[in-house]
């Protein structure tokens, strides 16, 4: 019989649980199906999220190339694309020139946004790394509920499946923009994409919300309840803090989105009028669809939509903090300030949503409050940037692919974050709203930057996932191609935006003010195609390295202090053979007392002060 004390310890820390010792062929991993498909092991689920995310990234990227071709070279003959796009390439019977149908252009833009924001940068980023790292870095056998965790992936898969099917509808996929503003997303008379395409789009995203909630509740529970002995909240690596706050944001905001979607479904199918009022469409006045407000939806949408951009960027920030610190061989500068800025960003993200709606017809007085809170976010963001830069100072920086992507992330976050100061100021939003300036801003700061965080994470933790390394030379080619390419694509868009060029235009020919930028648009398109090519180098490197990459021989190849590197190279169910290691110090003892790294598991020496003790 265990003493009462041990039982207590078990309850609080899961410290002495040794019932997972039989690594191979336990009842959870006995067949192909339970190992690779319906796995409940967080490490396998992480890989599932990552590879599914990569699939969607390629699809979403290819879509952007098609609409970039339209924007850069609208007069070219695209009959050759008929093989893939079929009737959406309309061939002029007289000239024989095939061009992209406007409906499909808008469908591509919509799908690109939806796929990248939700499937790649939410599921692919936070799904992958929360799953991989939370149990390994807090010292847990697995997630609190491995079963819910498995469901989380399969709901995501199902969401993807429904979205993928919608691409092949006769009336085309949804084309009302990734924000799906009503009445356009409700009135099937107003757009072909708002017919079956919109139904499937909403179904897909409702499934996706279920996936996020199942994942999020797991991440939160695991971080709060399953930390190993000695792992206080302020000893957590910043990755875990980021994933934790991300999960909280998701849990609080995604249900609001779902409620908005349900109201759209009611308006679409049950003739309610939550978002409709005084509409005359297609020769008919919808006389019994009155009393709703289109703006209500925007509030519901952006109440998710704004936290969503932090759901995307916080995990990337966490990963970058970790990677910068490990490869600079220095503690992250200002650990507590970093934690508090993550928390501050998380809290503020809930009270800034209406900055997406300054020009939507909200009461102008309301904008004052939202300007204030929006610009306040610049303060914790600036603190993070300065702390990252200070982390480099005095380091002994090892330049590998992961580190390069982390440095690249900081550059992108600076460039893209600063333009947010323009857009967050309501008065400046008058000329800039819905122009290419916005496109440049959010692609750099949350699109490409989050991708860079993801790449840094993949290169850094690839050995932890597959027991092999990715190829460094190819990683660096990938890095410089992407770094230069991203700025080549998105930097010029600022100039389009400053000239007033609106986004979501199929072409600008009819406007004298906007049709002066043919060369710039060609330049951007060529940049996009080349940059996409560099991503294929990554995909190739990734899959090649899974099977042929250099084998991981040392258990802790980067000399990192965190727990995931104390687990054996070989993946075992339950992560550690024998006892879960206990933690005695914070996660950033690099270069302390002349030693390159002190693992979190090493007890404090006699007279040694905890580095983070304030």
């Amino acid at each position: 019989m265990a003493s009462i004390d041990t039982i207590k310890e078990d309850l609080h820390h899961g410290h002495h649980d040794e019932h997972h010792d039989d690594h191979h062929g336990d009842k959870y991993q006995s067949s192909f199906f339970t190992t690779y498909l319906f796995s409940q092991d967080h490490k396998m689920i992480a890989k599932q999220f990552l590879i599914t995310g990569m699939f969607w990234a390629v699809i979403g990227g290819l879509m952007s190339l098609v609409f970039r071709l339209q924007l850069g070279f609208p007069a070219e003959n695209y009959t050759w694309l008929k093989a893939v796009l079929g009737k959406w390439i309309e061939v002029n019977p007289e000239t024989g020139v095939g061009s992209l149908a406007p409906e499909f252009y808008y469908a591509l833009v919509t799908m690109h946004g939806t796929i990248l924001v939700f499937f790649v940068l939410t599921a692919g980023l936070s799904g992958t790394f929360s799953n991989l790292l939370i149990p390994l870095q807090v010292g847990a056998r697995d997630m609190a509920s491995p079963f819910l965790n498995m469901l989380s992936y399969w709901f995501f898969f199902l969401a993807g499946l429904v979205m993928f099917l919608s691409l092949f509808l006769n009336t085309g996929p949804f084309s009302g923009g990734w924000t799906a503003y009503p009445p356009l997303s409700i009135l099937h008379q107003a757009s072909d994409g708002s017919k079956a395409g919109a139904t499937l789009w909403i179904m897909s995203l409702v499934l996706f919300v279920v996936s996020v909630l199942l994942g999020g509740i797991n991440y939160i529970t695991t971080v709060l309840n399953m930390r190993t002995k000695g792992m206080g909240m302020f000893r957590l690596p910043l990755t875990i803090w980021a994933f934790f706050v991300t999960a909280v944001l998701g849990l609080l905001s995604f249900p609001v989105l779902a409620s908005g979607f349900f109201m759209v479904i009611f308006d679409r199918s049950l003739d309610t009028s939550f978002f409709l009022n005084e509409i005359f469409v297609n020769g008919e006045a919808l006389t019994d669809r009155v009393g709703g407000s289109a703006i209500l939806y925007q509030h519901l949408f952006w109440f998710l939509g704004h936290p969503e951009v932090y759901i995307i960027i916080l995990p990337a920030m966490g990963i970058v903090s970790e990677v910068l610190s490990v490869h600079a061989r220095k503690p992250i500068f200002g650990y507590r300030a970093m934690v508090f800025s993550i928390l501050a960003i998380g809290v503020l993200s809930f009270i800034v949503w209406a900055h997406h709606m300054f020009m939507a017809g909200i009461n102008p007085f309301m904008a004052n409050i939202f300007v204030l809170f929006t610009l306040i976010i610049a303060v914790p963001s600036a603190v993070k940037v300065f702390n990252w830069i200070a982390t480099l100072w005095g380091g002994s920086i090892r330049f590998n692919s992961a580190m390069l992507f982390a440095i690249g992330f900081v550059s992108l976050f600076i460039s893209g974050g600063l333009t947010g100061i323009f857009l967050g100021n309501a008065a400046l939003d008058i000329p800039l709203h819905d122009t290419y300036f916005v496109v440049a801003h959010f692609h750099i700061v949350m699109g490409v930057a989050a991708f860079f965080g993801m790449f840094a994470g993949v290169y850094h933790w690839f050995p932890r996932m597959y027991g092999r390394f990715m190829n460094e030379a190819l990683g660096k080619i990938h890095f410089w191609g992407t770094m230069i390419g991203s700025y080549v694509i998105f930097w010029p868009m600022h100039y389009l935006g400053l000239a007033g060029v609106p986004r979501r235009y199929y072409n600008w020919d009819s406007f004298d003010a906007f049709n002066q930028f043919d060369d710039l648009n060609k330049f951007i398109t060529i940049g996009a195609i080349i940059t996409f090519g560099f991503q294929l180098v990554f995909v190739l490197n990734f899959f090649w390295s899974i099977f042929r990459g250099r084998k991981q021989e040392e258990q802790n190849p980067w000399g990192a202090s965190t727990l995931e590197w104390t687990a054996p190279v070989e993946h075992i169910h339950g992560n550690w053979p024998g006892e879960i290691p206990a933690v005695h110090r914070w996660a950033y003892d690099y270069g302390k007392d002349g030693r390159e790294v002190i693992l979190q598991t090493e007890p404090l020496g006699p007279g040694e002060k905890d580095s983070d003790a304030h």
């Binding site: 005084e278 830069i389 008058i430 000329p431």
Partner: protein, 354 residues
């Protein structure tokens, strides 16, 4: 055939990429892991510095190059009164963010290079410094406070509705812009300066596209011109509405932008300060505006300059084509034009509609 060739090319490039990867790994083995890591550190930290220098230079040079095409530092200046306040806010923001942008990039890539791992380098142990962190939390906080105050001041000056003591027709005029898939319908209130009431149930695309209520006498002199004329230096309140889905009433040069929401009229008030002719004269002195006009190569760009109304909220497949021209003219020209317009009201149609 072409498709196959393309596929072959991709496969070949893929094979080459894999070979590069394998050769590099062999080279690392021959050279020794430590040795090649140090060489890599040297190369990529220097390349980072080069990248940073080129990036900073390119961003400044391209900004100067594209300044003339921008709405802020080009010959097409702000054409409305509130616009110059917005432009000033733009410049202030650009000033602060520009400094931070350049400074942070220099530090980021300089530190990365300066502290690259070499023989015998050792990282220092430096975990935090409260004083430093207070400073770099304080500076952005102060700058943001400044920008928030200037921003809110500019916003409220721009967005406040017309003061109660302004007289319609004397102190300001009111017009209406209605979005529909895919065109703007502009309505002028006519000589009584008053827009009559509307009812979406009375809309009839052939005879009454806005659903004007003919029992409302104020409607009898209203008209819907193809090109809207507005007098210079007279505040205009645009009543913005939509018939079907969301649209956005967007006048780039006037810094006007506001969503058109079905069932909920919005507004935007602006005071045009430069007539179309004055702007053309101004542009006639600019080099870039001497180029031939795209729609008609006989003409030069400046001769064809017009203030354009666009849609800036995705409204369906024709979103990109909702162009209208707004002419800003002198008061005399405006009154002359007004005198030439015929009202839309047609007693016979109106009677049959009732």
């Amino acid at each position: 055939m072409g498709f196959l060739l393309g596929l072959l090319c991709v496969v070949l490039i893929g094979l080459i990429v894999i070979q590069i990867g394998r050769v590099s790994e062999l080279a690392t083995q021959i050279r020794g892991a430590r040795e090649s890591q140090l060489a890599t550190n040297q190369f990529h930290s220097v390349f980072g510095m080069v990248f940073m220098a080129v990036f900073m230079l390119a961003s400044v040079v391209s900004a100067i190059y594209y300044a003339p095409s921008s709405l802020y530092h080009g010959p097409v200046v702000s054409a409305s009164e509130h616009g110059s306040a917005i432009d000033f806010l733009f410049d202030t923001t650009l000033f602060f963010t520009g400094i931070i942008f350049v400074l942070c990039h220099i530090l980021l890539f300089y530190f990365a290079w300066r502290y690259r791992e070499r023989e015998n380098t050792k990282a220092i142990f430096w975990a935090h410094n409260n004083k430093l962190e207070m400073i770099w939390m304080g500076i952005p906080a102060v700058v943001m406070t400044f920008l928030v105050i200037q921003g809110i001041y500019t916003w409220n000056n721009t967005m406040t509705d017309v003061p109660a003591n302004w007289v319609l027709g004397k102190d300001y005029i009111e017009i209406e812009g209605t979005g529909q898939q895919f065109a703007w319908i502009l309505r002028h209130p006519g000589v009584d300066n008053q827009l009559g009431s509307r009812d979406f149930r009375k809309i009839d695309n052939a005879n009454n596209p806005l659903g004007l209520d003919w029992t409302d006498k104020r409607n009898h002199d209203d008209f819907m011109p193809d090109v809207m004329y507005l007098p210079v230096n007279m505040p205009v309140r645009v009543r913005i509405t939509s018939k079907d889905v969301l649209h956005n009433f967007y006048l780039p040069q006037h810094r006007v932008k506001m969503d058109a929401v079905p069932g909920m009229p919005t507004y935007f008030i602006f005071k045009p300060t430069i007539t179309t002719d004055e702007m053309r004269q101004k542009l006639s002195k600019e080099k870039e505006w001497q180029e031939p006009y795209k729609g008609d190569p006989e003409k030069k760009r400046w001769e064809m300059f017009d203030y354009e109304l666009a849609c800036a909220e995705l409204c369906g497949k024709g979103h990109y084509s909702m162009r209208r021209v707004i002419k800003i003219v002198t008061m005399e020209e405006y009154l002359k034009w007004l005198g030439e317009q015929k009202t839309y009201y047609n007693p016979e149609n109106a009677l049959s509609a009732q």
